[in-house]
Subunit: 116 residues, 2 copies
Amino acid sequence: MTYLPQPETEQIAFANVLTALGDETRLAIIGLLARNEENPMSCGQFSGVGSKTGLSYHLSKLREAGVVHVRPEGTKRYVSIRRADLDQRFPGFLDSIIATAQHLPMPREEAQSTAD
Amino acid sequence: MTYLPQPETEQIAFANVLTALGDETRLAIIGLLARNEENPMSCGQFSGVGSKTGLSYHLSKLREAGVVHVRPEGTKRYVSIRRADLDQRFPGFLDSIIATAQHLPMPREEAQSTAD
DNA sequence: TCCTTAGTTCAATGATTATTGAACAATTGA
DNA sequence: TCAATTGTTCAATAATCATTGAACTAAGGA
């Protein structure tokens, strides 16, 4: 039902990926996702990065550009980096992004009101 | 005189670099610059990529983000990638960008006969 | 000096962006 | 069924973006 649109592997456009990553909030999301790439994160786990509404916005940007995949499960949505697709289309790119994103400061240190 | 502002090496912000590169016209510029990285190109040599005014706009975006350096000489301005600075700040990143940008189609086919 | 070359700046335009709070939808558990 | 959890959508706002043509500056050559 709620099928979340994302580009096919071959449709991922480099400029769109770069634009999606060109934002401190979204770089922080990628940095967190990369910290444990095998484990998809639910949206709530990003609460340190921004507001609930803002995260929904930024995560959809990343998804629509083809950077992340979102899998609904119950009321939650599990987000993961599209590692295989990005490596296939743009070899070496994702690793260089992650290497830098990992060491970037968080854009905001403020958690949400409903946080844990 | 016309001193062209660009960030110091340490001031180059990753999100700004990504935003600057997240545009097809600017990716095309990088692709051309990378084709012969030792030889800086004058603005006119990019005429295949866009209009004179548009190029001035996009080149200043790349310069202000810290992606390219611009050296004025006479009435011309010679543009080059800030290879050493980018490699120092974001290892592997520039190479992965160039690898992809090299094989991207031109945003517009209204090229002049700018055959090198 | 006058003209050409090379590129910038300006103003106007329409499009896209990020952010906010309020309202909404869907699922789960009591 | 009711309430809590999880996350999206909507509308409004202010900011930035990319594109255009006209006007402009600066340097060089005749």
